[in-house]
Subunit: 198 residues, 2 copies
């Protein structure tokens, strides 16, 4: 996210202003889409002066780019602690999926924003998914070394799991309002045990 921001705030007040601008941008882009969103719409929502906006961003494109990276980072920071304490990595993945779904339920705009990045800011779009898949792959391969998952786990498994998580969030959390832990339990059992009859 740093590279889209012209100047990182040095004071607590500056950090709060930047956070307000990013939260306001999430609401503005989420509600109106990129093309209909405006810088004045963002500053009004944030209760910030136009000058504050231009302290941190030089354009609507710049704050959109910063927002995609900010959301990517926030998902990661929300999911990582939720994975702790699981008995094994497959359990941790289930807890992580439930945490992701809960995050998406509170921040439904994340779907529209990340999806629109494919058109507005393809580099951030790709970066978001590549870094997310890479984290999953690293977790799976570390788990394979501990004997918790099969030894041949690869980037293909990571992309498959990420795609599953994204679509479950779209269907059950953004479009409907299912309980995240229930959806996560069912999907994760498929990942652990497969669909073959037992």
């Amino acid at each position: 996210m740093g590279e889209a921001i012209q100047k990182m705030p040095r004071t607590e007040r500056g950090r709060r202003t930047l956070r307000s601008l990013l939260d306001a941008a999430a609401a503005e882009f989420g509600e109106k889409g990129f093309h209909n969103a405006s810088i004045s719409g963002i500053t009004t929502r944030a209760g910030a002066a136009l000058g504050s906006f231009y302290t941190y961003f030089d354009s609507k494109d710049a704050i959109f780019r910063a927002l995609v990276r900010d959301m990517s980072r926030r998902v990661k920071e929300h999911v990582a602690p939720a994975m702790a304490g699981a008995p094994d990595q497959l359990g941790a993945e289930r807890q992580g999926l439930a945490a992701f779904l809960a995050f998406a339920r509170e921040h439904k705009e994340i779907y529209r924003i990340i999806d629109e990045a494919e058109f507005v800011d393809p580099q951030s779009y790709r970066l978001h998914y590549e870094t997310t898949a890479e984290r999953i792959r690293e977790r799976l391969q570390a788990a394979a070394e501990r004997g918790e998952v099969r030894t041949d786990v690869s980037d293909i498994h990571a992309w498959a799991i990420m795609g599953m998580n994204v679509f479950l969030g779209l269907r059950y959390v953004v479009w409907a309002d299912e309980e995240p832990s229930k959806v996560a339990a069912i999907a994760s059992e498929m990942i652990s045990d497969g669909l073959k009859p037992r």
Copy 2:
């Protein structure tokens, strides 16, 4: 797709013109995106007169809507026969995924078009995924009745598998050029057997 088309062609020549217009629209929207695409760009690519366009479509929105539904139908028609002849449903799903990936490799523009439908034509976007997931759910539940997959398969499994398939296509076929059957084999083995060590 019918509802976006003003009048269905009654002659073979009319059907060919309509097909040319839809193929040209796929190229135009895939290359330029919805907003920069133009009706004249589509008719030029199709080698068709503007009057032919307006015989079938009343606007750029209308042909976009018809195109999303046409692509949805073509994917289905491409994948269905590829699933035949498999020893069981999990084998059929693997063959279906390989066929989908092969289709996406030949029609990479399908990703940009379906993804852009989220913004240009949300109803078609949702319809595409809902009907695709519904087909998967029906196949899995029929297979459960034959004892080929676990008995509790549900729409959650269907959406998980669809999301997996979509992201594998994006990563390995649109962004890279992997062999579809290899990707399908690895992902499908996860769906069949799960990731637990054997």
